[in-house]
């Protein structure tokens, strides 16, 4: 009676996934770029290009988790600024750089923890309101500390984070790949990740199933703070100095990458790999169009159009009755 002959695996379903569309788009972007500019495929240029867009990409990983949880965090860029400014300020006051780096990470963790605690404690406030408030507060504190000054002249080893190479590969690229693998495993292969999907799909049922919803939310938001601090490290290293208005607007870039990566804003759906492809898609698009001196505004329009497509496509697929049945969850086949 309720026999549904769903095959456990179908190639058609596999290739119809949003992630494959992203890879296709990525290839298209590269082909176009190659044709537009003879310098595009120059390996050194391409390699170094990754350094310019990967710093903010570290925040994509926790943002994927947050959006799967049906929440959002728009305070991350302010956390970057605060962590960066605190670190630079302490260093100029004579604190050893090693310790300043540790404090930078701690500041990020605390910022994230505060977000998580507020969101869990005040359930009537949505995450967007809570993080909007802390976004203003964290940035405000950064301004109080440095007062529109800049701070910098870090020790030489600190520059390695943003500019260094290991075996000809940029250090930041290696760090990104390592983190991507770690976060992919965390989301798709651990009980922690499974519970994140559970909460995003149905928080009530998750609670009734013994999932510690609040604890997981606090952890994920704290993780977002830590990753924002790591972004602060790479960004500060690459720029050589920092100001309170650093990383302005990064949160929107990060959210754009996550949405383009196929993570549903309604929660519970999407994969880490999609967001990772989206990071490179947007990064290479920006680099390629930069080579032919395309104005930044045009680039923004293209990214905006891509986002609309990304949000639209999953809504086009299930042409069943609109009786509120959610479409097939995308985390069925699991990608690391």
């Amino acid at each position: 009676m309720d026999q549904v002959n769903k095959k456990p695996f179908s190639w058609k379903g596999f290739f119809l996934q949003w992630e494959w569309m992203l890879i296709l788009l990525f290839l298209v972007v590269n082909v176009i770029n190659t044709n537009l500019s003879p310098f595009y495929l120059d390996s050194v240029g391409l390699r170094d290009a990754t350094m310019t867009f990967l710093d903010k990409a570290f925040m994509v990983f926790p943002m994927v988790m947050i959006m799967i949880l049906r929440d959002i965090d728009i305070s991350v860029s302010s956390t970057v600024a605060l962590a960066s400014v605190v670190m630079a300020h302490l260093y100029t006051l004579g604190v050893p750089m090693e310790l300043a780096v540790v404090i930078c990470l701690a500041v990020g963790a605390v910022c994230g923890l505060i977000n998580g605690l507020l969101i869990v404690r005040f359930k009537e406030l949505s995450a967007v309101i809570v993080t909007l408030s802390t976004m203003i507060i964290y940035r405000g504190i950064a301004y109080i500390i440095l007062e529109d000054q800049s701070a910098g002249s870090f020790p030489e080893w600190f520059g390695f984070l943003g500019w260094g190479y290991i075996g000809g590969v940029p250090f930041i690229l290696i760090a990104f790949v390592v983190m991507a693998v770690l976060f992919g495993l965390l989301l798709h292969k651990t009980t922690f990740g499974r519970r994140i999907y559970a909460i995003g799909n149905n928080p009530t049922a998750s609670r009734f199933s013994g999932v510690q919803v609040d604890k997981i939310k606090i952890l994920v938001f704290t993780l977002a703070g830590v990753m924002a601090a790591i972004t602060a490290l790479f960004l500060t290293s690459r720029m050589g100095s920092t100001r309170p208005n650093v990383a302005l607007g990064y949160e929107l870039d990060v959210i754009a990458m996550v949405v383009l990566g196929g993570i549903s804003t309604a929660g519970g759906k999407g994969k880490m790999i999609g967001a990772i492809i989206a990071v490179f898609l947007i990064g290479f698009l920006r680099y390629g169009l930069g080579l032919i001196n395309m104005p930044a505004q045009v680039l923004m329009i293209i990214i905006g159009l891509l986002l609309i497509v990304a949000v639209m496509v999953p809504n086009l697929k299930p042409k069943k009755k609109a009786k509120g049945k959610p479409p097939k969850s995308q985390d069925e086949q699991i990608a690391g």
Partner: protein
């Protein structure tokens, strides 16, 4: 001209997996208050929704003043003068009374399209005065009491010139005096020629107001009588006496030592002074009217909404339970009443649902073992006999009964001693019901202590070893199942008929 204002013939409405209405008929005379009675799930609500155009019947005809009508949406029903007032008031709490009354049919100035506020306020105040209300039309809806909000709803119905008003359990949330006011208003409406369909679980409402009564049971029409032409006992039989064609495969078990005891459990506003014990291998039925506090007690024991008074002993040891996780660690499992919202993740496969509450069993230091998950899921879904070709299939593709089996399988995975089942057969068709009864029996036979909350009396009487009856947050009776009769349970669940303390006589939900 027909002798009936509203007549329905042979109405059938099927939802996926459930026949909600089966060849139902109904006749409403002019200026008549007609009580519609039946158990929860008898089909009353669906029936109302057919009349008001929310649902379209699969079969059958509806006649309004002798003319056949088909409502495609609620607006069409509203236009011809049918209005419904629901149990839970559906209003705009932040808007004024006037805005609530005229929502959707505001008085608008021709040409400028300006809203004629003054006129609307005056009209609203006139309607409220007619109903005997003591508040102004400019009051914000949310600041009013439930009874007052109901008055606004009635005023709204009047403002649309409703000829037929349907009231769905309007007295459920009202105090004695407020009910009295409502009776007065209802009678006044009747006298002015409005026909009223009155749904209630209280016999008191029916005897006070209605001249005719129609009974539904199991989605079917049972009969229509003049209120005073049918003895109360016969009416109860009509409402609850179902054909016993369900099988209750109760297995005789040896009842062992005590696994759970609660003493003086209380939660302000929900229940008080609840004490009982549960033994190994025992099925303890908890019954009572909807809203008697049964689910709340169970959710307190499971830590969803912890109690603020009393003690819980698990296997003789006093324990505090603040979260579901703690309860599960203590060996207590809970099957929620609302399996779609609380029990399952519909957009997930059967396998992932089964393992969600016991991920530690299929993981090592947090790393999932998919093979082990598959084994567990296959084993458990076979054990409870989920009808599916593949455990990776989405739960949303299953029928209600099979979804419930998945929810039960979830409980079986963890090492539990105590299983609390909250309305385990709600919204499940007859065939799957007996399969679920079999599972429950087997659980008790395997040595689980089982608490079964249920509104269905045959189920409670046939499946339990012992029955607790709750009323208004307190346990009013403990009955050995062998001596239990529906009448005895009914009596404990409701205040007695002769009672003069002003308690209402409610008949169903049982």
């Amino acid at each position: 001209m027909s002798e009936f204002v509203l007549e329905l013939r042979g109405i059938t409405k099927t939802f996926p997996g459930v026949k909600a209405l089966d060849n139902v008929q109904f006749q409403l005379g002019p200026g008549e208050i007609h009580a519609l009675m039946g158990e929860n799930g008898a089909g009353k609500s669906t029936f109302i929704k057919v009349i008001t155009g929310v649902h379209q019947p699969d079969e059958g005809q509806m006649f309004l003043n002798g003319k056949e009508v088909n409502f495609k949406n609620p607006t069409e029903a509203q236009k011809v003068g049918i209005a419904a007032i629901y149990q839970h008031v559906t209003c705009y709490p932040d808007l004024s009374v006037t805005e609530n009354i005229f929502m959707g049919h505001e008085k608008i100035q021709k040409g400028t399209r300006r809203i004629r506020w003054k006129e609307m306020h005056e009209e609203a105040n006139r309607l409220l005065k007619e109903l005997g209300a003591s508040f102004d039309a400019k009051t914000i809806m949310g600041t009013l009491s439930v009874a007052q909000q109901q008055m606004v709803e009635i005023a709204k119905a009047l403002s649309t010139n409703a000829k037929i008003i349907i009231m769905d359990e309007p007295t459920a949330a009202l105090s004695r005096n407020e009910s009295e006011d409502l009776y007065r208003i209802t009678e006044k409406l009747r006298d002015s020629g409005t026909s009223i369909i009155f749904i209630s679980h209280r016999f008191e409402d029916m005897y006070r107001l209605a001249s005719k009564v129609t009974v539904f049971r199991d989605s079917k029409y049972i009969g229509s009588w003049g209120v005073h032409d049918i003895p109360n006992e016969d009416l109860i039989v009509a409402m609850v006496g179902r054909e016993i064609k369900q099988l209750f495969p109760k297995v005789e078990t040896t009842i062992g030592s005590e696994v759970l005891r609660v003493e003086g459990l209380g939660k302000t506003g929900f229940f008080a002074d609840v004490s009982f014990s549960l033994r190994k291998g025992e099925i303890l039925g908890i019954t009572g009217l909807v809203g008697a506090g049964r689910s709340e007690v169970c959710q307190a024991i499971f830590g969803v909404e912890p109690a603020d008074k009393g003690k819980i002993f698990v296997k003789g040891v006093e324990t505090t339970i603040q979260t579901p996780l703690q309860a599960m660690n203590k060996g207590i499992g809970y099957l929620p009443e609302d399996r779609q919202q609380q029990g399952l993740i519909l957009s997930w496969g059967i396998d992932k649902n089964i393992t969600l509450s016991s991920l530690s069993l299929i993981s090592k230091k947090g790393w999932m073992n998919r093979k082990k998950e598959d084994e567990y899921a296959n084993h458990l879904s076979k054990k409870v006999n989920v009808k599916t070709p593949n455990v990776a299939n989405l739960v949303s593709s299953l029928s209600g009964g099979n979804q419930q089996k998945v929810a039960v399988a979830k409980l079986l995975m963890t090492g539990l001693d105590i299983i609390i089942l909250d309305e385990p057969t709600k919204g499940v068709d007859v065939g799957a019901k007996s399969a679920i009864y079999e599972i429950i029996s087997n659980l008790a036979a395997q040595g689980y202590g089982v608490i079964m909350v249920s509104s269905e009396m045959p189920e409670v009487i046939s499946m339990s070893d012992r029955i607790l009856v709750m009323r208004e947050g307190r346990i009013t009776a403990e009955i050995q199942a062998k001596q239990a009769t529906q009448e005895a349970i009914l009596e404990a669940a409701m205040a007695s008929k002769e009672s003069t303390e002003g308690q209402s006589l409610e008949a169903s939900g049982l």
